[in-house]
């Protein structure tokens, strides 16, 4: 990463503190948003399996978002 070779600056410290609480919050938010959409779709289309599928999809997307935003 770019900051190697010296101790982390204050803004990098703040970014890390931000990321530690934002990572599980993002995953939870992804599961909530996609789970909500999946639950509504399951009620509308009457296919009960859509809720877990969308939850897992939300988990995967949120995991990817955490990687993109905080992992590089």
């Amino acid at each position: 990463m770019t900051g190697n070779g010296r101790l982390p600056t204050e803004s990098e410290d703040r970014e890390f503190a931000n990321a530690v609480s934002a990572a599980p919050a993002t995953i939870l938010a992804g599961m909530l948003v996609f789970g909500g959409v999946g639950w509504l779709l399951a009620r509308w289309l009457d296919i009960q399996a859509l809720l877990p599928i969308f939850l897992v999809l939300g988990l995967v997307f949120a995991g990817y978002l955490v990687y993109v935003r905080y992992g590089r």
Binding site: N18, A25, T26, A29
Partner: protein, 262 residues
């Protein structure tokens, strides 16, 4: 009938009933119960302390001003300066009452006659978290504009544009709904759980050592006494840590409104 069943037949563990209070007196149609009396007491203590410390400040501090200065400098240097930078002084008027209200409210859990942590009723941490959340909105809109605040909070840079459709609702929910919720619930859940634990061990000790003394139960009762003392010490530590984390996150959310990260 097994041995534990016979041993603990009359024992009733404390449950949610710990948090219901009959009104002590009524002011008009408004029923005043113990949590409200404790909150008013906490308010009087915090205001009284800082009034005694800083009403007539002197260059060389005497008496209460010594302690008040240590308290003020702790909040300003450990919590305010890392996030708010040069503006930390002007935000102390919000952060110091929040920190001391939360901490002394938590301490009410171990004070003998009171023994109820004020923040274990969801209303009190919720109001504080909503206050910080509204401050975040107002400060964010004033310093970054409404559209700028939403853009900086929800859209990470350098993504292919098709991904933004998925990313924006996730980031929006994460920043604007989950943050204040966890902010309040973290404090509430810690105090709620700590109160139930101390009450459980104290009830165990009382039941097995006083109400229904049996030779077998005596050991359990002594264990209850020891664990009550251990849990009280642990709760003292947790109360201070939770007050610190609450105020730290408050300063962080305000700074997220003031300064955009990108």
């Amino acid at each position: 009938m097994s041995a534990p069943h016979i041993l603990a037949k009359d024992f009733e563990a404390p449950g949610l009933g710990l948090f219901e209070w009959k009104p002590l007196f009524h002011i008009g149609p408004f029923a005043v119960a113990k949590p409200i009396v404790l909150v008013l007491l906490v308010m009087i203590i915090v205001i009284g302390f800082f009034w005694a410390a800083f009403s007539k400040p002197q260059l060389v501090p005497r008496g209460w001003q010594n302690v008040g200065e240590v308290a003020y400098m702790f909040v300003r240097d450990e919590i305010g300066r890392p996030f708010l930078g040069k503006d930390a002084e002007s935000w102390m008027r919000l952060l110091i009452p929040v920190f001391f209200f939360v901490w002394i409210g938590n301490l009410m859990s171990v004070v003998p006659v009171a023994q109820f942590p004020v923040n274990s009723r969801i209303a009190f941490p919720l109001v504080l978290a909503v206050l910080i959340y509204l401050t975040f909105w107002v400060v964010g809109v004033k310093s970054q504009g409404l559209f700028g605040l939403l853009k900086n909070a929800t859209m990470p840079p350098d993504l292919p544009w098709a991904l933004y459709i998925i990313v924006i609702p996730i980031e929006f929910v994460s920043t604007f709904f989950i943050r204040p919720f966890t902010h309040a619930v973290r404090l509430f859940a810690n105090m709620f759980a700590g109160h139930i634990l101390i009450a459980l061990f104290a009830t165990v000790a009382f039941h097995f050592l006083w109400e229904k003394v049996t030779p077998l139960g005596f050991g359990v009762g002594v264990l209850g006494v020891v664990l009550t003392i251990v849990m009280t010490a642990f709760e003292l530590f947790i109360q201070a840590v939770q007050a610190y984390v609450f105020t730290l996150l408050a300063a962080f959310y305000i700074s997220a409104g003031l300064y955009s990260d990108h």
